[in-house]
């Protein structure tokens, strides 16, 4: 005859243990309801295979805790990482462009280049009506100085933003290195845990790793491959491995890479940082350049590089870097160069008054009856030779002169060193030479307004600015404003869209993996009742034994 008495107690005990495990698991889920990246666990129960009694009856041997499953969907986790990367990039772009757009305000307030340009031309128009007026001359010089100030302030602000972006690149790379090192460490733990305890035994480590992977995706784009041993391999788009098994490669930032011995300067002077990996750190340095690959991806780092700009090893100037900020700074620099070349050329009278002499003879003059002493209205702070195409000190710089100074590295940019050549209103050359016949002593009359008028007419003159010919300075500036506006509007839209996408991805992921307190508490009630039922069974078994003993005794 079968001994069902022992089965009662054994089965009740297995039930108690199983419900305890359920309750413990529920308590763990509840405790981690707000833990970032936590995926809820499920206790999988299975009935024990029962032994067949003499009568061929199989009652069953109770319940086993078979396994604990971590509820996570690989596809949803991937979608979450993708949207996190997009949001990381969009947020960074929007943040910087919000600050950039303030440099090009459109409310008519003081402080923008456009406003200063308009006031500059207007001051010359006013002067042309009364060229001898000291007050109006002072207004012109003040307007010129305001223009110089707004240009240099705008340029320096862009340079500071580039510098900040570069600093953040360095910080982000350090953060990425820390994350990849940690991921590699978790790979190792997951592999060893799951090798001994089976799948599901490293649920906590997997949660931590998934969280790190998501945070990493917010910074940099990578491809992930899940291996059968539980580890993941991370690599950049060009195949460069960031993490492989328990090994991570530490990226470096450097302004002096082995592949570029003469890195180009940045807008603020020092070269931009390259993101590299040193293949041969033991025996000198052998860098490979990863900057462009990372720039083309998502994440905050890619956005920072896109904003800051990425220089090529062949670059020689700060304006050749490919990026939003260098591009804008380059356009501001084009305006500056136009002031130094086109504007100065008109200011000194347009043509050489006496081509027979070696030195350039300006054909404009001031109230003192003298021509401009320097090469025009605008100048720049530089102690060397500024104008190489004339033998004398009087002349206006052509574009080739400025290019020569930039290409030799003597001058990094003209926007931050731009000045007005003088402050004395009497020195403003509003007149043109009115002498006639063969070149003789020039005559500049105080009432002659032809040079002032010519300067005012520059407002509607078409020039070549940067790569665009046949455009006025005002229209060129308006193009810059429009470009900035479009960039910011696109960034704002991308930020909104990516935020919505991320929220949707998070919600989908949470729907599957997050803890629902309502669900856990409901289940807890069920587990509690089941536990009570199993405990009751033990009491019943005890009563049965007592009855039997009572009968015997």
């Amino acid at each position: 005859m079968a001994n069902f008495g022992a089965k009662i107690i054994n089965n009740a005990i297995s039930g108690l243990q199983a419900q305890q495990a359920q309750i413990a698991n529920a308590s763990n889920n509840i405790a981690n309801v707000n833990t970032p990246g936590y995926s809820r666990r499920i206790v999988n129960l299975e009935n024990r295979a029962g032994s067949v009694s003499n009568g061929g009856i199989n009652i069953g041997d109770g319940v086993n805790v078979a396994s604990i499953t971590r509820v996570a969907d690989l596809f949803l986790e991937t979608a979450l990482r993708t949207t996190t990367g997009e949001k990381g990039a969009a947020d960074t772009q929007d943040e910087f462009l919000s600050r950039i757009q303030q440099l090009f305000n459109i409310t008519g307030q003081q402080g923008s280049i456009g406003n200063s340009l308009t006031k500059f031309f207007s001051s010359f128009n006013d002067l042309s009506a009364n060229p001898g007026s000291i007050e109006l001359r002072t207004n012109v010089i003040q307007a010129a100085q305001d223009l110089v100030t707004t240009i240099s302030t705008t340029y320096n602000s862009l340079a500071n933003l580039q510098k900040e972006a570069d600093s953040r690149v360095v910080s982000e790379v350090a953060g990425i290195n820390a994350m990849t090192a940690k991921i590699a460490d978790l790979n190792d733990k997951i592999k060893s845990r799951e090798a001994g305890g089976g799948a599901g035994s490293a649920a906590d480590e997997r949660d931590q790793r998934d969280l790190l992977l998501q945070q990493l995706a917010g910074k940099i784009s990578y491809d992930k491959i899940d291996l059968a041993d539980g580890t993941v391999t991370l690599s950049l788009s060009n195949g460069f491995s960031l993490v492989s098994g328990s090994t991570s490669r530490q990226l470096e930032t450097t302004t002096n890479p082995s592949f570029d011995s003469t890195p180009a300067p940045s807008l603020y002077g020092a070269p931009l940082s390259y993101i590299v990996y040193d293949y041969d750190s033991g025996a000198g340095t052998s860098h490979i350049d990863l900057t462009n690959f990372i720039k083309q991806g998502q994440g905050s780092l890619g956005a920072l590089l896109d904003l800051r700009g990425v220089a090529a090893s062949t670059d020689t100037t700060a304006f050749q870097a490919q990026g939003t900020i260098p591009d804008l700074a380059s356009k501001v620099e084009d305006l500056t160069r136009s002031l130094l070349t086109d504007f100065n050329q008109v200011y000194i009278g347009g043509t050489d008054r006496d081509p027979s002499t070696a030195n350039f003879q300006p054909s404009s003059g001031d109230l003192n009856g003298t021509p401009p002493a320097t090469f025009g209205l605008f100048d720049f702070v530089y102690s060397g030779v500024k104008d190489s195409t004339t033998t004398g000190t009087i002349g206006y710089p052509e574009g080739s002169d400025l290019n020569a100074l930039i290409s030799t590295g003597a001058v990094k940019n003209f926007s931050s060193i731009l000045t007005v050549a003088f402050s004395d209103p009497r020195r403003l050359a509003a007149a043109r030479d009115s002498s006639t016949g063969a070149p003789a002593a020039a005559i500049y009359s105080p009432g002659d307004n032809r040079n002032a008028l010519a300067m005012a007419n520059l407002q509607s003159s078409t020039l070549t600015l940067g790569s665009i010919s046949g455009i006025t300075v005002g229209d060129y500036y308006n193009q810059i404003v429009g470009n900035v506006g479009n960039l910011k509007a696109s960034a704002a839209l991308a930020k909104t869209v990516s935020a919505n996408s991320l929220t949707a991805a998070q919600n989908r992921r949470d729907e599957v993996s997050a803890v629902s307190l309502d669900e856990e508490y409901s289940n807890l009630t069920i587990y509690q009742q089941s536990y009570q039922a199993s405990a009751r069974m033990i009491k019943i078994a005890d009563q049965i034994f007592q009855e039997v003993i009572g009968l015997i005794g």
Binding site: N105, S122, A431, T436, I443, N449, L453, A456, N478, Y521
Partner: protein, 331 residues
């Protein structure tokens, strides 16, 4: 079965509050600044907005210059009218004294009035506007008509007004006196506001001096600036011819320079008025364009602000409700 977790509820609550607050801030800024586009990123037409702003700033400068030019032209018009009246008066005097019946003494008396008219015209020719000579071309710091002399043989003693002549500055040695001053009234419209006065006044002054000297009893050679006294009564016919020649010269100058100058000034004033009207139209168009692109409709913004505020309050209330609900309250 769809699972709704606490993290989803919390996230949705926070995001709805943030979104409602963004809308509230947006319309609050619109109402306070009056602008729906205050940064380039607020609109894809920020370049166009900047163009309108630039245009309105330029128009401000144009308006100031137009007002200034109108004053100058009005002044010049007044001068031209006075010049014309003075020449006409001189012609009347000449007409009266060209008769054969007028004696030498009467003519000599008439000469005195001619000298007064001449001096008045010199004053007009050397007029200043805002402390600048307006008939000296580009040389507006220097008096354009200076005194010189006629040489009479024998010399006139004591020297009187018949020995004085006024001539425009030498444009060979002072070429700025030959230049006109042109300014930009608007982006498309320039105007010459001051011109050399040698044509307008020079011929009239020379004719007046010839007339005065003839009435006073002297010939005048304007090529050499010399002359001799008439021998009367032998040279009486010569004197009468000289008076008539001077009179004709005055009329030629009046018809050739003074009348066209008056017509020209009238036309300029009309053109300035036209430019001003077109400028007003341009300004109105630009303001209208700018308003439609950049300025907020206060009524619409205020309504949206109110709606946004309601939305924000609703978000707060709903979030509070959702976050308070828990099965724990019932277990």
């Amino acid at each position: 079965m769809t699972r709704i977790t606490q993290s989803q509820l919390g996230r949705m609550s926070v995001e709805s509050i943030f979104n409602a607050r963004d809308q509230f801030n947006k319309y609050s800024n619109e109402v306070s600044s009056g602008l729906k586009v205050s940064q380039p990123g607020d609109s894809r037409f920020s370049g166009t907005i900047n163009q309108y702003r630039d245009l309105l700033t330029r128009i401000e400068g144009h308006e100031t210059r137009i007002n200034s030019v109108k004053s100058v032209l009005a002044f010049q018009d007044n001068v031209a009218n006075q010049l014309n009246d003075l020449i006409v008066r001189a012609q009347e005097i000449a007409e009266q004294n060209a008769s054969e019946t007028v004696g030498a003494e009467t003519r000599a008396q008439a000469a005195k009035e001619i000298w007064e008219i001449r001096d008045h015209i010199v004053q007009l020719a050397n007029s200043k506007y805002q402390d600048k000579y307006i008939y000296g071309g580009a040389d507006d710091d220097d008096m354009p008509f200076d005194a010189s002399s006629y040489t009479t043989t024998p010399a006139i003693t004591p020297a009187g007004p018949e020995s004085v002549r006024y001539a425009y500055d030498n444009t060979t040695t002072e070429p700025a006196n030959a230049l006109s001053r042109t300014i930009n009234l608007t982006d498309d419209f320039t105007m010459t506001i001051t011109s050399p006065g040698n044509n307008l006044f020079g011929g009239a002054l020379t004719a007046l001096e010839r007339l005065g000297r003839a009435l006073a009893g002297y010939t005048t050679d304007t090529t050499t600036n010399t002359g001799v006294p008439y021998v009367l009564p032998t040279d009486r016919d010569l004197q009468t011819r000289n008076i008539k020649d001077a009179m004709d010269s005055l009329e030629t100058n009046r018809q050739t320079y003074v009348m066209p100058e008056r017509i020209s000034l009238g036309a300029k004033l009309k053109r300035v008025d036209t430019a001003e009207a077109l400028l007003d139209l341009t300004k109105s168009d630009a303001k209208s364009g700018l308003a439609s692109m950049q300025e907020a409709d206060v009524d619409v913004s205020a309504t949206n602000l109110s709606l946004a505020q309601n939305g924000l309050n609703a978000s707060y209330a709903v979030s509070a409700k959702i976050l308070q609900l828990s099965i724990l309250n019932f277990l």
